[in-house]
């Protein structure tokens, strides 16, 4: 843990003492960090009961979805029972279909769990990519200014005025209905809004004295952007990420519902609803189950995201 600088200046004995000192300090810091983290979580829970409730539900959903193959004996793409079998009826192999079967006899519970994987994957990946690209675009737009800023802002304008769902539909139609394309199609909608917010944040950073000092010291543009501006824009980026997850899940479901999302056999809550639409007179459960799954998940994500925003964005504290 001793620095090379320290080694040159001090004798061996001193170095050993110094190293021990640093080590104990690190240990102490580690313990302090654990205590601090625990305190932060406790404070967050106390201040945002609704947000923590959302977070807890989200955690349960993630665990359920990840252990899909342990929880259900069926495969999501095989017909295992009679068509539209009601809740709790028996499958052909004798196992119970907890939430009934869909219009071609596949187990609804299994499909809902696997559909949740799709939703959560898209819901996390799309905002990650969208916020990441928006962050880069916003910061470079603010940092370089001039023609670059002008051009980027016109591109951002055109991204902002086109209805998001329509753009996503065009993209999946042009590039295909794979998981990756759907993620990109949803991410691209986020870039415009994110880069606007980050740009205005970075404009203020750009004028700050430490950036001026860095420039005077001869730091390269890449260094200033990646080592200073991006880390300093982390809090707003985090907030933007948290509030985008719910929307991404909804957009994925909408795309699948319109038949322009991820192609079968991979289940998605949106496509389950879309298939169920024609049959719901004969079996309410096939609409209700994926519907409730979407509703509960997005609600939990939004409660958690809002609380995170309140906690991270001091300007909003005390409001709402």
């Amino acid at each position: 843990m001793s620095s090379s600088n320290g080694e040159n200046l001090t004798s061996d004995k001193n170095t050993v003492e110094l190293t021990q000192l640093v080590d104990t300090k690190v240990k102490f810091n580690l313990r302090a960090n654990v205590v601090k983290t625990r305190r932060v979580i406790w404070k967050f829970t106390k201040g945002n009961p609704a947000g923590s409730f959302g977070g807890a539900i989200l955690l349960v959903i993630i665990i359920l979805v990840l252990s899909a193959s342990l929880l259900s004996p069926f495969r999501f793409d095989r017909s295992v029972g009679s068509r539209l079998a009601p809740v709790g009826s028996e499958a052909r192999d004798g196992n119970s279909m907890v939430l009934g079967a869909d219009e071609i006899g596949r187990d609804v519970f299994t499909r809902t769990l696997h559909g949740g994987r799709t939703s959560l994957y898209v819901g996390l990946a799309a905002p990650l990519i969208g916020v990441g690209l928006g962050l880069l675009l916003g910061i470079s737009s603010a940092y370089f200014g001039g023609v670059i800023d002008m051009t980027t802002q016109r591109i951002v304008d055109s991204l902002l005025i086109i209805p998001g769902l329509v753009l996503s539909m065009v993209i999946t139609l042009s590039f295909g209905f794979s998981l990756e394309i759907v993620v990109l199609a949803i991410a691209i909608n986020l870039i415009g809004g994110v880069s606007r917010v980050i740009r205005s944040h970075a404009l203020a950073l750009r004028e700050s004295q430490y950036v001026e000092a860095l420039e005077a010291m001869g730091a390269s543009n890449t260094r200033i952007i990646f080592k200073h501006l991006i880390p300093n824009s982390f809090a707003p980026a985090m907030v933007l990420f948290a509030v985008s997850v719910g929307g991404a899940i909804t957009t994925e479901a909408s795309l699948s519902f319109l038949g322009l999302g991820i192609a079968p056999p991979r289940p998605s809550w949106g496509s389950m609803l879309s298939n169920a639409q024609e049959f719901f007179r004969s079996g309410v459960h096939i609409v209700l189950v994926p519907g409730v799954a979407i509703g509960v998940t997005v609600l939990a994500v939004n409660l958690f995201g809002d609380a995170l925003r309140d906690a991270l964005d001091p300007r909003l504290r005390g409001r709402d």
Binding site: A50, I161, P163, V170, S174, A253, L258, L260, Q277
Partner: protein, 317 residues
């Protein structure tokens, strides 16, 4: 002011150009086009020669840059092109479908404003009470639940308990206003639900900020009734951000319309968007998106100007 408006209008040109061009090339990335879609989508399937003939006729065999040049020329004339799918000009198709969606959007905005603003005010004035809590739960749900889910649940309830089903044939407003409104009320309610929830939350937080200020206390001290204080003094000052938000929500309404019109079987712009995209009618898609984009930009400009008009402290130059 005139210079400002002119500059904003001029800035629309590059934006529209970028949007149109990227959309043009985006749509032509993958093989497979309208010629196949037109001839093979129904029960009959066409021979390769027939498809090739139609492709030649529609000009789809030309080099992509030639097609782009042709399209630019069309746009330059102020035209939006021709839709082989409907065998008519894009402008006339848009004209016939736009009415339904605009009517739907207007009803949605009216319904949502009518209940969102009063609820927001009540929620702010009775902060922390059970009614405030209830309103916050409903708005949280309104923001979270996807609108097509709400639409399906509404349909489910109506079908299961009232034996009602969505009408098959659309009735025009001028033919039968009452029947027409009955038809649009539910979809408008569903589309507006989310916007209403957002507006309620915004109204609440703006009102909370405003009613804590000195001038409101002064108005109270003067002996004004709490109704006058709220409606004449607090609300106008809280209304600016609400207005901006309501304007921006219009884009969300279009997204909502795409999916809600499909569920409720309304032959508006939303259905048209879905149909043109799935059938790959390029010029129609481009036309719709450009018109929507232009509409949005003009709309945002109008709200910006309205902002300055409502709040004299804001000046554009």
């Amino acid at each position: 002011m005139q210079v400002y408006i002119l500059r904003r209008l001029l800035l629309m040109i590059p934006t529209i150009f970028i949007l149109g061009t990227s959309l043009f090339f985006l749509l032509r990335v993958l093989p497979g086009d309208l010629a196949v879609g037109l001839l093979t989508s129904e029960e009959s399937s066409a021979t390769a020669e027939e498809i090739e003939e139609l492709r030649e006729y529609l000009g789809l065999n030309d080099h992509i840059l030639v097609q782009y040049g042709r399209w630019l020329k069309t746009i330059g004339r102020g035209d939006l092109g021709y839709s082989p799918l409907f065998d008519s000009s894009v402008v006339s198709i848009l004209w016939s479908k736009l009415g339904i969606t605009i009517e739907l959007a207007i009803i949605a905005v009216i319904i949502s404003l009518v209940w969102a603003i009063p609820l927001g005010i009540i929620s702010a004035l009775r902060r922390g009470s059970w009614i405030d809590q209830a309103i916050r739960v409903v708005t949280a749900a309104g923001i979270s639940l996807p609108n097509f889910w709400i639409a399906l649940m509404v349909l489910l309830i109506l079908v299961a308990f009232f034996r009602w089903s969505p009408p098959v044939q659309y009735v025009h407003f001028l033919d039968n206003p009452i029947e027409n409104l009955k038809m649009l009320f539910l979809p408008a309610l569903v589309i507006g639900f989310r916007s209403a929830a957002v507006i309620t939350r915004m109204t609440r937080s703006m009102m909370l900020e405003v009613i804590g200020q000195d001038y409101v206390r002064t108005a109270r001290a003067k002996g004004l009734s709490s109704r006058t204080v709220t409606l004449r003094h607090a609300l106008p000052n809280a209304s600016l951000p609400i207005l901006t938000l309501a304007a921006l929500l219009l884009a969300a309404l279009v997204d909502g319309a795409v999916i809600i019109e499909v569920i409720f079987n309304l032959p508006g712009l939303g259905q048209l968007i879905r149909e043109s995209i799935t059938r790959r009618d390029y010029e129609l898609i481009q036309g719709i998106v450009l018109v929507l984009a232009l509409f949005m930009m003009v709309w945002i400009l109008i709200t910006d100007l309205l902002y300055a008009w409502l709040d004299p402290r804001i000046r554009y130059s």
